[in-house]
Symmetry: C2
Subunit: 276 residues, 2 copies
Amino acid sequence: MYTIGEFSRITNITVKALRVYHDKGLLTPSFIDESTNYRYYANREIEFAHVISTLKAMQFSLVEIKDVLNNINDDADLMSVLADKQAKIIQDISSLNNVSSAIDFILTKEKEAKKIMTNTNEVTLKQLPNIEVITQTWQGQYSDTGKAIGKLYRTAGRHVTGTVFNLYFDSEYKEIATLESCLPVKSIVSNKLRGKDSSIVFKKLPGGHYYTLLHVGPYEDIGVSYAKIFQHIKACGHTPTTPSREVYIKGPGMLFKGNPAKYITEIQIPFSDLLP
Amino acid sequence: MYTIGEFSRITNITVKALRVYHDKGLLTPSFIDESTNYRYYANREIEFAHVISTLKAMQFSLVEIKDVLNNINDDADLMSVLADKQAKIIQDISSLNNVSSAIDFILTKEKEAKKIMTNTNEVTLKQLPNIEVITQTWQGQYSDTGKAIGKLYRTAGRHVTGTVFNLYFDSEYKEIATLESCLPVKSIVSNKLRGKDSSIVFKKLPGGHYYTLLHVGPYEDIGVSYAKIFQHIKACGHTPTTPSREVYIKGPGMLFKGNPAKYITEIQIPFSDLLP
DNA sequence: GATTGACTCTCCCCTTAGGGGAGGCCTTAT
DNA sequence: ATAAGGCCTCCCCTAAGGGGAGAGTCAATC
């Protein structure tokens, strides 16, 4: 016979926990002094204590453990209980994996943005690849882009392959611009669109040569960068055409508005060789 | 301005939860009617609510979320918080994976036992392979095997490769037998033994030809099976030698004593061709 | 025999993130 | 004006104990 303290040391279960197990009828000491209420445990209980610890380590709740202890005699039953528990654990693992991926996505994006920040921000001539996107065309101000993007993201789900951008069809500044928000996706998404909200369209955007310039800072200042890139294009003897693109490499994030001074936008402008 | 009910529908957060967020200072409605205490939310709060939901989905506690909301302005800080959280999630995943493996181990063993049960239980002549084990030699009764095995299991950890068995060095029945408990392991375990408790020894057991018989039922009845196998060996003109083995394919499990009528023990007896 | 220190008892409060419900006040539609 | 539904606060409940208070108990020492 052991006192509760001795038994606690033997089984590596705290005294508090042992009292709880007693209260809940999981592990009743084999003798209780009726005058003092002292609990005394026998050797036999050590084995039970071990079973409880093991089941607890397997994520069983105390109620479940009690159930197992009282109602399971047959091996087959025990195995089915264990199999159920394992299924639940595997499900938990999968959902945690999803969370981890989601965080990964954010971290990766941030790292890319950091890398880009350290690059020069000079006008560059780039060959853009063909790209598959879902798009939504609308009219309004740049700041409404968020609304369109939300819908696109929900449609694409986990098939997003790149960073969102807008196409601008106006060659000069307009208060209410016509634009098309684009989200690069796997081509499989085109199947998901059948019969759905027809304002969202799957497209293959052709690539080609574009003049590009990174604009770092709040969107309100983007005029400066536009001036810079137009000047450069003209100096090269080319003529800007449409649609131009604004790639929102880093903007108000999924979580926070962030710091506008660190927003990164890539302006991409197509051109023709002809003089205007 | 939205009432709490409208805001709840917009954000998919229950009214109860919104009130808790208010109490804890996570999300304060932008206007509170001082005479009625009615909460009114503005559009601005929708964004915050979304941030809170997102962080909750990422396993942040309310305290952590409040901390993030109040104290994090810099992107770099946010990323480090996310990275920390991800590390913790990955750790959780790994520990769940361990639990799942442990359950797997039990389920697999049980399935094997079931398969064996359906086989015949006749005396068979088998070629046993060489095998690497850790062993502990001791004297006592069969029923003390559990004690030795516990130590072996703890030593081997996840490098266990097979089912535990005892070697018997006495050729006749003795109250206090000399026996050696063996646990098949990967040879890598031999490294872990250096400088440790020297009663545990790493060995390569040679295989060879053995007469074998499955004993199904409680250990007390094993005498019957021994009689059967000895008789068979004699009938074949061979002489039993030592050490004989008892493989505890299924016994009192890691969790429960189980049903002794379903215990499975394989008796393995070596022999010489000479007559005694 | 008495004291003392270590042990044990019960009881109460606290933790997460709200859920359920009671009782009472408020708003809005008919 | 009335009724329905919305909103308020307050209280209890969850799982698995941890922390601590106040009181009683055990065993050894003086």
